[in-house]
Symmetry: C2
Subunit: 324 residues, 2 copies
Amino acid sequence: MEKIKLMSLYTDFRKDMSYIEKELERSVQSSSPIVRQASLHLLKAGGKRIRPIFVIMAAQFGTYSLENAAKIAVSLELIHMASLVHDDVIDDSDMRRGLETVKAKWNNRVAMYAGDFIFSRALTSIGNIEKAPVHQILAETMLEICKGEIIQIDFQQQTDQDLRDYLKRIKRKTALLLSSSCELGALSADADSQTVRKLKRYGYFTGMAFQIVDDILDITSTDAELGKPAGSDLLNGHITLPVLYIKDDEQFKPYMKRAFTGVMEESDRQAMLRYIRQSGAIEKAQHVSDLYLIKALKELESLPNGKSKKALTQIADFIGQRKY
Amino acid sequence: MEKIKLMSLYTDFRKDMSYIEKELERSVQSSSPIVRQASLHLLKAGGKRIRPIFVIMAAQFGTYSLENAAKIAVSLELIHMASLVHDDVIDDSDMRRGLETVKAKWNNRVAMYAGDFIFSRALTSIGNIEKAPVHQILAETMLEICKGEIIQIDFQQQTDQDLRDYLKRIKRKTALLLSSSCELGALSADADSQTVRKLKRYGYFTGMAFQIVDDILDITSTDAELGKPAGSDLLNGHITLPVLYIKDDEQFKPYMKRAFTGVMEESDRQAMLRYIRQSGAIEKAQHVSDLYLIKALKELESLPNGKSKKALTQIADFIGQRKY
């Protein structure tokens, strides 16, 4: 299969996406210099803008209004950004996407309030949308994301967890927000309820796959590709899907124990990563991701053909083979 | 003047307030044991529930519905609670209202996510209110509160600030949320726009007075009365109104310098507090608070008489003479 570049999928929606990018920048303007700088730093660090693109594409299945869709897209991307800043404080992470994190470049308190600030901006962005379900869905989504972050604490370094625990966790961490992106995009354009439901499920399934692949890449990629040390999840005590398949392996246990201390000799970390890579755990995790992607594509089948359906299909394919 | 007990003001609204109390408890239920415990701990720590009572009373000036008013009251009280948890992380505070803070009893990460969680619950509570202005006002209020917290960082330990800087800060820290409590309470009951405006201004003025008195009490009260060390504001680098009046006093400067290190000998702290108390700064600050309360009472004048107007008047009086 030809390698897909995510950005090429955005071609048809380039104008809309650049409008959203400007709105994102506008939305984090602040009279406090520190916050403005911290927020812009975050924004420039980029990311794939998958939430906005999902909103835009889902909205194509109804009566599309860029202005309405953009409000929702900005809101969802900001919620995502806010949760990243807070995660970095919790995980004590210094690097993300190859750039210093806010908490490293400034400090924890700036990161905390920058997160709160961006969170609030997310609400302002949809403040004047006159649809109660939109507010309700967003509030529920934020609530579940928070619950997820908290449950992540409960589960840290806990080795007696199973596939169900993991799937519940990544649902809250990633899939829900992608699912809501599709749902709210479609809702904002008054798409019919069947279509809304299908897009919501598409978002959920691709979200699950996306996070599994993310967790795989944390083990299979180089530090340079990740922009942070490979194996960070384990060093932070997070047990992801590949590790779930190998955590009871007697030879692996001592690695895990050392990883949980949060610091590891460079050679030890590399040996641990090699051990996981050759264990077959990666392939098992990849398989689960593939199953989700099949489900995602199935949801699209009965939707009307067009640029948007094509792009959503390609995104699912992209997730299946992404290397970054 | 007879000493007013705040709780006695609530007599006429006791049933409504206990309904809100139950809703508050219900709203912080969570499947995560840590979060449930942390949130309940916060809730039990209490506070004066001034935001809910303002909502209830303001709603009396329209077509009162306890159910609607309660949603807004819960939302505003939760936003207040969430900002307290995050403040405690920032200020590294171990005690609040005589109880251990969440960050002390658990840790910073629990406090951070408990704050985020409560924040999200606040949104869920008003999620199904079908009035766009309510969402807009709440979003704006949260935004301004965040900005305030951030500006507080910019101003920490900065001695070249004036009355205007201080007033702007306490507006965001306290007055806005009280102002929005009155505004949203009245709006939720479809009060006429003149009434909404007057109540909003009443909430703003009492809020300004409330925070000034709070800042005075941080200096004039005992540790036992405060449930935390007196002078904490200065130890955390926050320059409040009384200190603003004395900060350029040559004999006071060395105290302030030592306070800004965050640790002070017990006898030194007591001497500093005595020095401020006898300087006349407290009386000057009290005078500013009194001016705000006069403005607050003026807003009430033209509103229809009744239990609610009487109680709002008494609250303003209470703030003027409160000792805790």
